[in-house]
């Protein structure tokens, strides 16, 4: 159990800075998901916490203790790697027991703790096997088991599910969440999958180009994205963005009248908040390009008159008007998000 704090945390490789000052405080027992596109510095951040990368400037504190210069083994952490990083020449039992043996835990207790973890992860039949004799999902569990038996203060996960197939990923996602809840261990979880982020996280850190653009609960991040990037990254299909001039002269302009933020440059609107309407109430009009029926939802792509394409999300049963036909789209005024010239949110 531990709290983690970053203060103005930076990392450079040579002259290139890849983490540009992250500040945050992580509470005891919280599951924090770091999400962002490839190359934004998620792994680097996590590896700095693990002690696998040096900290260029700023501080990492675990339970108030600055750990910048501590070896990984002095930090009381456990990490699950994307490729699992199991010891290929050791049995599943030995993989899980390795850290305990090094910590000189008595034999009997090692056996006891591994047995408990193996039961929790349904690994009991495989304890004598070598990692290469396991399936991807089983290896993943061993990696989890290796982290659990040590009873560390912090769990670190670097895209632990990305090598699994879609179905198993959903299943393991639930298991990780349940385990983390049960053990109550403070966890940092890196992923580039926004669904994983939304479902797992107590709070999300959305990273972009080495900057933490927003830190908040999944719903806060979804409902009040701090930047256009966050709006576009969280939510599927992504938020539609239009220049604010497009509101002028639309039916919507009247409904928020004077309140229309004058500094705004971009307006964002989520596909699920758009709906088709009659020509009279239309905020925008355009041509229906394509309709994707996904079962639970239907996505209609509409090309507006000036050529921009927006996505309208409808409930599964509903079909959009198909064909060459002209369609009209509207949304409630309070579902609009305004962003300034600096891409930041304006309320």
């Amino acid at each position: 159990m531990a709290q983690i704090a970053f203060s103005n945390l930076r990392k450079s490789y040579g002259k290139t800075e890849v983490i540009h000052g992250v500040d945050t405080h992580i509470n005891d027992g919280e599951l924090i998901v770091i999400v962002g596109p490839s190359g934004c510095g998620k792994s680097t951040l996590l590896r700095m916490v693990a002690g696998l990368e040096t900290v260029t400037s700023g501080e990492i504190r675990i339970d108030g203790r600055v750990v910048n210069d501590l070896e990984p083994r002095e930090r009381d952490i456990a990490m699950v790697f994307q490729n699992y990083a199991l010891y290929p020449h050791m049995s599943v039992f030995d993989n899980m027991a390795y850290g305990l043996k090094i910590a000189k835990v008595p034999q009997a207790e090692i056996r006891e703790r591994v047995a408990v973890a193996a039961k929790m992860l349904e690994l009991e039949p495989f304890l004598e096997r070598k990692p290469r004799q396991l399936s991807g999902g089983q290896r993943q569990r061993v990696a989890m088991g290796r982290a659990i038996v040590r009873k560390p203060a912090v769990f670190l996960f670097d895209e632990p599910l990305s090598n699994l197939d879609a179905k198993l990923r959903v299943q393991m996602r639930v298991e990780i969440k349940t385990l983390q809840r049960r053990l109550g261990v403070t966890s940092l979880y890196v992923t580039h999958d926004q669904v994983e982020a939304m479902t797992l996280a107590d709070r999300i850190i959305v990273m972009n180009g080495g900057v933490a653009e927003q830190i908040g609960t999944p719903l806060a991040v979804y409902e009040k994205p701090a930047t256009t990037f966050v709006g576009g990254f969280i939510g599927s299909p992504p938020m539609n963005f239009l220049s604010v001039e497009r509101l002028q002269g639309s039916g919507l302009a009247a409904s928020f009248g004077e309140a229309a933020p004058t500094l705004a440059k971009t307006v964002g609107v989520r596909p699920e908040h758009l709906s088709f309407c009659g020509e009279g109430q239309a905020a925008w009009s355009g041509e229906l390009v394509i309709v994707e029926a996904l079962g639970a939802e239907t996505l209609a792509h509409v090309r507006l008159d000036d050529g921009e394409v927006i996505i309208v999300r409808l409930d599964g049963g509903r079909t959009a008007p198909v064909g060459e036909s002209r369609v009209h789209v509207t949304c409630e005024a309070d579902k609009l998000h305004f962003f300034g010239t600096d891409e930041k949110r304006i309320d």
Partner: protein, 293 residues
Amino acid sequence: MQKRVVFNNRLLPYALLAPQILVTAVFFFWPAGQAIYQSAFIPDPFGLKSQFVGFGNFEFLFSDPYYLASFQTTAVFSAAVTLLSMGAALWLAVMADRIIKGSGAYRTLLIWPYAVAPAIAGVLWLFMFNPNVGLVAWYLNAIGYDWNHVLNDGEAMGLVVVASAWRQISYNFLFFLAGLQAIPRSVIEAAAIDGASFWKRFWTIVFPLLSPTTFFLLVVNIVYAFFETFGVIHTITGGGPQQATTILVYKVYADGFVGQDLGSSAAQSVVLLVVVGLLTVVQFRYVERKVHY
């Protein structure tokens, strides 16, 4: 997937194979056959006629204390060369693996000794350690150690071992480094997070994962120490003092070409042939199948 080459001309494949077969026949089968044949004869002192003795040469060999001593010398020499060259190479490879910047330069430097011909390598070491003019010998004298490998058995053995091992370090280093770099970084990192210190990681993770490489090199180095160190020994000690550095291969030369005892020399060659055969079997049985974990 294996691709098969199909020849239209029936003779072409044989023609293409011919040079290799010819070389093997002339330089291996024929001498080997000769050795086996001659090992059954004792030529007279003038080389005019030979007398058939069957296994006589072998009987004589294995009751000859000098020959048995040479076996022991060979064992000590090979073990020392193998241990020293592999140990040093592994240490260098581990160090080079930790360095990321400039590792290319280190690698190139460490590969150079391999390009030095054995005899030249021998002469290099000889000059350094020559009791009269050698630089190292001079320094050893200066600090009060009376170095003279021409007279001292142990020193002579030490010198040929070091000189032989030195050449082989490059080769071992390359394989060890490749082996080290094939170990996924994250496995080592996982061990670090599990609390293992550098040496603990080395002995419990890195070394076991290197075992296929180590075993392969073990066989290669033993073969090297047995058969390819002639030049080094010949230039540095000539097998002496007494017989202190006369390994089996050197004894074949010493008895056959210097001592003109061709029958015994041929019999020794046959014994070596058997040794090579055994090593080859070991190599195929274990190395080809890989030491697996």
